[in-house]
Symmetry: C2
């Protein structure tokens, strides 16, 4: 088992080869990895069984065991995901806005890999293949630190990927797994800014907070979404109900689900009964302020804490406002910089909301559930950034690259 | 005097107004600031005199006193710099690559301000006006923490800027100065990630290291440049000598000055005598490896430490290599990710160097001294980033922005 330092050194050693690996070679290797995941499926499933057995013995909740468990069709899904990444355009090498300066220098901005990317994640073993494919396609070396629950699965998947890379004469160290899953080692890993250019945590709020607090490597914060929908006075009622129902209930555990409603007081009495009726289909609990509670029966009174809570559950908070300005101020105070929507038929209010809301994705008349790399047309997604530096919103391959300036001269001096 | 917490709260309170301030209003305010710096020049010079007097009493070196000192023409320079920033195109508001998705959603990427930017800098008081103008033009609030040596100057300049903003009905808190210049307060400031979106240190290596180690706010690393020039076997000799002389001696204390030469052994004997003769004009000390020392008289033997040293002085190290691959490996090992150049007449080697060198700016046949926001045509520069995340190389106004996705729908749900 390699030490953390050895892992860092091996990653750095693989980096120059990855940096200049051409697209054809990368795609060939990715297809080889996809193929090998299938031919070695039995080996991976055997390893996964060990993890699942141990998890059940430890009393893991069935929903979590389900996330951990692999089967033939899930492995096929992993392989298909890798094939899709191979089919995406390579972001590396593109030169943007090359311009001639008055002194004759020709200066362009060339897209290049970031270098070494660290991923810290929790129980889902499919992240292993997925994160590798995206980092690799963008020319990066990846160091993975998966959760202890998926230890055997991750080990097997990484072994298979490395074997496939070797067959395609690509440095195996393009992917390495930190086998020691202790918290102490994770903390040490976060200090390895000498070797790692970017750290992406994928998992729950606790994991992300811990990485943000401890990392000396630049981190991209992902995944927390206290998303709002503002129902403007002029909203189409049936559209509002349909969008809210979709954003709240289509999938409750995801970061782009709607957690809080902000309603203009002039539409409150018309909206609430229709909305309550629809949300009752899925037993959604509504926690509203006094006005919202007065508008329809069965609304629980919200507390201050509700406005800042990402429920990830069949619960929705409702805040009443007297104006769009009040709505925007409320949302900008409590949102997590993820996805916010307005339902309106008023042109000026639509534009005002788009301009003044501070979030990664701002919608007019659509569900917040669309904040997603696939839905945005990026073909893939490594996460959804809720910070403003480097990448914001759904991160596709481009978010895994940097650029450098290339300058063609013929003897210029200053 | 406001506490750090009050400063953070006031900055956040000013942020929404800055975010939507239109270009005309921003430019008007900037021109007002430039004007007021001139009408209040006597007041600023009086304050500066206090700093200069104290600095001399404390035995500050004349070169540093000169950097600290303001006079009428330097204040005119500050005002002119602000007018130039006002004349630059506003990066905020541009919507890139708006596309229609199959479901009819129209998704575009809109450039927006970053939010609150912190700048930690050392003795030069002109940075105060300069950093404010760039941050403000890009719609950001700025919190400045200048050095204690320029305390009175900074206080006066910020007071004048705030007065001009007030006259133009722009929130004065668009700029705030941390008046407590203690190290302890600086350290606390670096932990204010709740209020500050980005921290940019401007100053010497010690300051930058301290910020990198202590900051919980995302930092952009700037300004360290161990820049190399590789003289390929096929180089035009007189071009090589001219570029090296320029990159080494035109201005020695800057981050884009050349610190180290890498020479192909087949051109060493021809290059060194001509180069030595030229560098002697400015008494440049040459520290070479054994081969370089054998090629011409008067070369000091280099130690391992020399390869990693940014001299910022009339000293140049010379490393001999047997191939371009060896040159690239050496440079990628010792460079600081700033600016690297090759002098060559060989097409394949030029392209290879551009592809394989890992640095912010990679040159063929030109001086490294061109790595600069003005020279690159950005019209201004807040610093030169030597990291890969968010911004790399010279940072103009665009580096002080982020983006958000704006999505126009008509009822779409998933």
């Amino acid at each position: 088992m390699r030490t953390l330092d050895e892992i860092g050194i091996c990653a750095k050693a693989a980096e120059p080869a990855l940096r200049v690996l051409n697209t054809g070679k990368k795609d060939e290797a990715l297809l080889g990895v996809a193929e090998k995941l299938l031919t070695e499926a039995a080996y991976i499933l055997e390893a996964n069984e060990k993890d699942v057995l141990r998890a059940k013995e430890n009393g893991m909740k069935p929903a979590l065991v389900d996330r951990l468990m692999l089967n033939q069709s899930r492995i096929e899904g992993m392989a298909e995901g890798i094939r899709q990444v191979a089919a995406l355009p390579d972001p590396v090498g593109e030169v943007r806005s090359m311009k001639q300066r008055p002194n004759g220098l020709l200066i362009g901005q060339k897209r290049v890999p970031l270098g070494v990317i660290g991923i810290i994640y929790e129980a889902r073993p499919n992240v292993t293949a997925d994160a590798f494919a995206l980092c690799f396609k963008a020319g990066n070396v990846v160091i993975l630190r998966g959760g202890s629950d998926a230890f055997y699965s991750n080990l097997a998947i990484v072994e298979v990927i490395r074997a496939a890379l070797k067959e395609h004469k690509v440095p195996e160290d393009a992917i390495q797994l930190i086998e020691d899953t202790s918290r102490k080692t994770a903390q040490e890993f976060m200090k390895m800014d000498r070797y790692v250019d970017l750290l992406i945590p994928r998992g729950g709020a606790g994991l992300i907070r811990s990485v943000l607090e401890n990392s000396r490597i630049p981190v991209i914060e992902t995944g927390t979404g206290n998303c709002h929908i503002f129902v403007d006075e002029s909203a189409d009622l049936s559209m509002a109900v349909s969008i809210i129902f979709n954003a709240k209930t289509q999938r409750i555990g995801v970061c782009n689900a709607c957690e809080s409603l902000v309603v203009h007081e002039k539409i409150l009495d018309r909206l609430m009964p229709a909305l309550k009726k629809k949300l009752d289909e899925k037993q959604v609990e509504i926690r509203g302020d006094e006005k919202a509670a007065a508008a329809v029966d069965g609304v629980v009174l919200a507390t201050e804490e509700d406005w800042g809570t990402e429920y990830l559950d069949y619960i929705l908070s409702v805040k009443t406002v007297g104006s769009i300005d009040e709505a925007i101020a409320h949302i900008n105070r409590y949102n997590t910089g993820h996805s916010e929507a307005i339902i309106t038929s008023d042109y000026a209010n639509a534009q005002k909301f788009l301009n003044e809301i501070d979030a990664a994705a701002v919608y007019v008349n659509a569900s917040t559930r669309f904040t997603d790399g696939y839905e945005f047309g990026f073909g893939a997604e490594i996460g959804i950034s809720t910070q403003k530096l480097h990448a914001r919103g759904p991160m596709g391959l481009e978010a895994l690259t940097s650029y450098k300036y290339i300058i063609y001269g013929n003897g210029q001096i200053r």
